[in-house]
Symmetry: C2
Subunit: 248 residues, 2 copies
């Protein structure tokens, strides 16, 4: 695996990081300490591959900072970005339930800090410890809900609404108008994340600008009317803004 | 809930039905017997609603025969068919992990036989019994994998490939050519299941017929060259035919 990583150890902050994640928070302090001891803090360069689809699942990761792209590759060599995840998100954990094979790949799209943890330890903990099994059920249920949203959005929203939905998720529902947002990553990656070719993305973004008062300059977005944007986006969705469990 | 159901009891076949499903197979015989006693065998008419999105999850269901549509409804009143499930499939089970609220609705699209089981019993069993928690993890992992496939397909395959993929899943990889298939339900439902308007579906089906040797008459499909169909479909997917865990 082409990985440019620096592993270093400092257990106090690692324990704190684990405590911040629902999967580990449900464990006994002793079991959490076992994970903290086995964890490796890694600094990954842009482009580093954490694992590839069909790789044996030796490790799973807790992202601390930076964006990671989850992807699959078609027989034709095209790439599908199935998700983009960041801070606080677990990746590769569910492979232990799927014959310990990763069903997608993961790569850093910018400098990323992550905790690397042994999959075998998680598998053992789930088998031996009821609380961990319940916490894992919670984690999997959040994954599932996130995916259901995605399927609904892909089925019902048009391209402009999908871009609007992406932006809406960055908005603070209680924020002062106008809201100033920064795009979290490159427009080309946003297009890929939303399953669009870049031409489709540009056309759809122009349409969104015309149909709402939203404005975009470079990576800066100004939302001057949140109600207008949410009506435009959520009319083609079963959830209202602000929708729950967005980043589950 | 508008439900035209006949509930009747006969515990021996109910126990056998439960034993055939991975979630219940992992339980102790005593616990399984508790579920069998609480289960109600139901006959649902076409159109019967099992539950609606945002309903409190009082029951979950094991489908015995017939097709059930899982759906959400947008603020605008449009319906998204997020899945079609049948024989051996559990529905509504994961709501116990999501504040006991159903995140989608379910309705019979033809006469359906199903076992109705109390959600509270499943919630209790997962909390009390480690084996059941592990079996539930397996069930959720199968749901998740099925959804990942769906997202990949919606992102990468064109409409004709999506129809071809749907048909390919009905094909026996070891069957004698030509394969004769019967569509499992109405074309209009297949279109909805694949997230297409009926015009798009018709156009895409015509294109699929032109680009492969597949033929369709009414609900009868003839596949004379399985390799040709699988190359056409799977080139835009990360899985090869026959793909694993299709009906998980």
């Amino acid at each position: 695996m082409a990985q440019t990583a620096t592993a270093y150890r400092d257990e106090a902050p690692i324990a704190a990081l684990l405590e911040g994640q629902p999967l580990f928070r449900g464990m006994s302090p002793e079991l959490r300490a076992t994970f903290a001891q086995a964890a490796q803090l890694q600094s990954l360069n842009k482009g580093s591959v954490l694992f590839l689809q069909d790789d044996e699942a030796e490790w799973f990761y807790l992202i601390i900072s930076g964006w990671v792209k989850l992807f699959t590759e078609t027989m034709d060599g095209d790439e599908a970005v199935i998700d983009m995840v960041s801070n606080g998100h677990l990746i590769g954990d569910s492979a232990i339930l799927e014959d310990s094979i990763h069903s997608f790949g993961a790569a850093a799209v910018e400098p990323v800090k992550a905790l690397r943890l042994p999959s075998s330890l998680l598998k053992q903990a789930i088998t031996d410890d009821h609380k961990t099994a319940l916490a894992m059920l919670g984690a999997l249920s959040r994954h599932r809900k996130r995916q259901s949203r995605e399927i609904e959005s892909l089925t019902l929203q048009n391209a402009s609404q999908r871009i609007g939905c992406f932006l809406l998720r960055l908005c603070d529902p209680n924020g002062q108008m106008p809201l100033e947002l920064t795009l979290p990553y490159d427009k080309s990656l946003i297009a890929a994340r939303l399953g669009m070719k870049s031409e489709t993305f540009s056309r759809a973004l122009n349409k969104l600008r015309k149909e709402t008062t939203l404005s975009i300059k470079g990576s800066m977005v100004t939302v001057s009317d949140l109600d207008e944007l949410s009506v435009y986006v959520c009319s083609a969705c079963s959830n209202e803004f602000p929708c729950k469990d967005l980043h589950g």
